[in-house]
């Protein structure tokens, strides 16, 4: 049986196992957001449309987490950062598949991937991450 999503509503899983992040767009504010909310987090407008977000991004900030934070049972160290989605310009907090900060550079091209994690319960779950794209 396929592992469950880490929580509902963050992304959709396609037939080939790839994922797309699910966000919102408010035409009146002109802003995208993630995760999907029922009102725009920048203006409060309720005209939010559900959208799938761009899988292509550039790297805006990054580090590596070297000790397991509370409630986390996945591997350490793991990459952690902010990517800027190419089509929407939205900046998203994300796991990174690269755990060595020295191997990443500002503006590097990144791509969304599904990431399988162990949980404290012993189960596994799917979350999202971004991986560097070879130039």
């Amino acid at each position: 049986m396929a592992a469950r999503a880490i929580t509902d509503g963050l992304f959709v899983t396609h037939d080939d196992g790839t994922i797309s992040l699910v966000g919102g767009y408010s035409p009146s504010s002109g802003h995208f957001h993630f995760p999907l909310l029922d009102s725009c987090p920048y203006t409060g407008a309720t005209d939010v449309e559900t959208v799938t977000l761009s899988a292509d991004a550039t790297l805006w900030a990054w580090t590596a987490v070297t000790a397991a934070p509370p409630g986390y049972a996945g591997p350490v160290p793991f990459g952690f950062g902010v990517v800027e989605l190419e089509s929407e310009g939205l900046r998203v907090i994300t796991r990174l598949t690269e755990p060595d900060p020295g191997r990443l550079v500002f503006g590097q091209r990144m791509r969304l991937v599904a990431d399988t994690l162990s949980l404290e319960t012993g189960d596994t779950a799917i979350t999202w991450a971004f991986e560097p794209v070879a130039p």
């Binding site: 920048y42 987490v65 934070p69 952690f80 979350t127």
Partner: protein, 377 residues
């Protein structure tokens, strides 16, 4: 004209780790000292800052002192909890509701990376609740945008730890070298262990009183102003999962500072001494520009000139900062105010900032919550 709010007494329980002591024990120590200094006044209300203290933390402290019956309000505003309590108390005095109010804060922080009910369980499971990692991302952006290096971060630690040597209420009282800071283990690049403050335990108390005279020579609480975040900053203390372009989004610390300066009728150039939120070394450097103490990108100049060291033109964190004291969330902001009161009274001993007459205290943290306090003499 509304009443002048004077700081009639202060008391502190040292910040550190005290395995045998409860929040109530530490709170009693700090409150008793503050009330004694103020001449044991009758107070009309009490506000208690705490983030992790639990139900009725303030009542437990005042119950142990047999000083109950008045309204006791616990206030949670993350790292700014004590500042929020101070704003409520000062506002009530200015409005004429109360004459004398006790403000205190207590905290016993869990050890290790702070586990916060702020994060949904799935964010913890996904590794997205690593608080120091958010600090690290903000530090990396600041280094890039302000032309700073890790060596500058180490300099902040060296400065604050040197100041902290002289503070009997600090947790760490040993000087460190930049080499040793940079040799401490990397927690989250670019932040090394010694560049991060330790969450810890402590209590602090301040008695505020309406003063009709203007020449008593006591320290005045000129303003205490709390603000929250505006939407949009991906690396803001609100810790969202996404954000829009940050340009043009005023950070909560700047909002709070502007309000505090306005209410006190001063500007950043009038400040003689600052206690600011140095949760990590980069946070202090970010505060310099957020509080209007320098233009964005001028931090390296301030450090190189020694401006923010004791003896410089604008000493920052003469107490040693959170990097020396550690951070008991509910007590932290009041600990800063107590340091400034000692500085303005001229009784800060070997860490005295000569001639200090205007002090600024700044706390900021999750929520987002940011608070700025101006004290004058």
């Amino acid at each position: 004209m509304s009443a002048r709010v004077e700081i009639a007494g202060v008391g502190i329980h040292p910040f550190g780790r005290f395995d045998g002591l409860t929040n109530t024990d530490m709170g009693v120590h700090a409150v008793r000292a503050a009330l004694t200094e103020a001449g044991d006044p009758r107070f009309d209300a009490a506000f208690c800052g705490t983030a992790y203290g639990g139900v009725a933390s303030g009542h437990k402290v005042l119950g142990a002192l047999a000083r109950t019956g008045m309204p006791i309000v616990d206030v949670e505003a993350g790292c700014a909890s004590g500042g929020a309590a101070l704003q409520l108390a000062a506002g009530a005095i200015r409005a004429g509701q109360y004459d004398c109010v006790l403000v205190f804060g207590v905290e016993k922080m869990p050890k290790g990376i702070i586990r916060s009910s702020f994060f949904e369980p799935w964010r913890e499971e996904a590794g997205l609740a690593a608080t120091p990692a958010y600090f690290a991302l903000r530090a990396q952006r600041l280094l890039r945008e302000a032309g700073l290096t890790k060596e500058h971060l180490a300099e902040v630690v060296v400065k604050n730890r040197r100041h902290g040597v002289h503070n009997p209420n600090a947790m760490f009282r040993k000087e460190v070298t930049a080499e040793a800071v940079l040799a401490s283990r990397v927690v989250c690049e670019p932040l090394h262990l010694w560049m991060l403050c330790s969450p810890n335990e402590g209590a602090a108390a301040v008695v505020l009183r309406s003063a009709t005279d203007s020449s008593a020579g006591s320290v005045t609480l000129a303003s205490a102003r709390l603000r929250s975040h505006l939407p949009g900053s991906v690396l803001g203390e609100a810790t969202p999962l996404s954000g829009i372009d940050d340009s043009g989004i005023t950070p909560p610390s700047t909002l709070a500072a502007r309000d505090a300066y306005d209410e006190a009728g001063i500007g950043p150039a009038d400040v003689d001494v600052v206690e600011c939120q140095d949760t990590d070394a980069a946070r202090e450097l970010l505060a310099y520009q957020e509080l209007g103490l320098c233009e964005p990108g001028e931090q390296a100049k301030l450090l190189a000139s020694g401006t923010t060291t004791i003896g410089g033109a604008l000493p920052v964190n003469p107490s040693g900062g959170l990097l020396s004291k550690g951070e008991p969330l509910g007590a932290s902001a009041l600990g800063q105010v107590i340091e400034l009161v000692h500085q303005l009274r001229g009784v800060a001993g070997s860490r005295q900032v000569e001639g200090a007459r205007v002090g600024l205290a700044h706390t900021v943290g999750r929520g987002a919550n940011a608070c700025c306090v101006v004290v004058t003499r």
